[in-house]
Symmetry: C2
Subunit: 113 residues, 2 copies
DNA sequence: TCAATTGTTCGTAAGTAATCGAACTATTAA
DNA sequence: TTAATAGTTCGATTACTTACGAACAATTGA
C-alpha cells in the first residue's frame, strides 16, 4: 500500500474542511468518530459500497479532517481535533454539535441510544 | 423578475450551508457582508464574470446563508445571522472568524486596511 | 498454503458545479 | 424614448463528484 498523504496542519484549508463536511455521509462518519473515538471504516454503518466509503475516507483525510493509520487490514480513522482547533477554533465543535442536535443521519437505524 | 426563493429557517440544512461556505468566492462574499453590513452584488470585487457571481449569490441564498432583496436594479444581500445562529449556534461565527484570521482571499487587493 | 477480512484502485456512468459570454429583464437617469 | 446600470437566465464547456462493481493488495487465521 502506498503511503497515505495527510496535509500538514498549516496546509489545512478552511474551504476544503467545510467541503469535506458538507456531505451527509462524511458528516456522519466524523460525528461517529468524535462520539466514540477512533475507529475503522467497517464500523460505520452506511448504505454505500465499500469503494464509495473508501472515497469518502480519502476526502476526509486529504482535507485534513481525519488521520488514517493502518492496523492489520484495517484503516483506523481519528479526528485531527487539535490541528483543526488550532487552525479554526470552534469550527469543528460547533458543526458537530449542530449536527448531533438536529441533523441525525436519516440513513442510520436510530438504535444506538 | 420572478420571486426569489429563500428556505424557511427550519428547512436550512447544515450540509447545504457548509457546502455554500466551502467556496473561496462565497466565503469572501459572506465575510464582506458580515464585516460591512448588507450590500449589493456589485460591491464585491471578485475576479469573475457577473453571471458567475450571480450564480454564487443564488447558491448562498438557496442554502439559507443570505437573504436577497431588490432595491432598484440592485440585489441587496444580507446575512441570515439570526436564523443561522438559532439553527446552528456558533457555526457561522467560528467559520468567519477563522476565515478572517488567516484565509484572506488571495484574489483581493489587500488595501482595505 | 488457502480462505476470509479489510480496504484501495480502476473503469465507468450519471449527476452536479463553476465558468464564460450573449441575450434578456428591470430600473433609473437623461 | 433612449441609454446606462444591475442582475438574471440560457447554452455551452469543462471539470469534478458520487456511485457502483470488479479486480487487486495486504493481513490474519485456519
Amino acid at each position: 500500500m502506498k503511503l497515505l498523504h495527510h496535509p500538514d496542519r498549516k496546509d489545512i484549508q478552511l474551504a476544503s474542511v467545510l467541503y469535506a463536511l458538507s456531505d451527509p455521509i462524511r458528516l456522519y462518519v466524523v460525528s461517529e468518530i468524535r462520539k466514540h473515538g477512533e475507529q475503522a471504516c467497517n464500523s460505520f454503518k452506511v448504505p454505500i459500497a465499500k469503494s464509495t466509503l473508501s472515497h469518502h475516507a480519502r476526502t476526509l483525510r486529504e482535507s485534513g479532517v481525519v488521520h488514517t493509520r493502518a492496523q492489520g487490514t484495517q484503516r483506523i480513522l481519528s479526528l485531527r481535533e487539535e490541528d483543526l482547533n488550532v487552525r479554526f477554533p470552534g469550527v469543528l465543535d460547533s458543526i458537530i454539535e449542530a449536527y448531533e442536535a438536529g441533523e441525525a443521519a436519516a440513513f442510520v437505524e436510530k438504535s444506538e441510544g
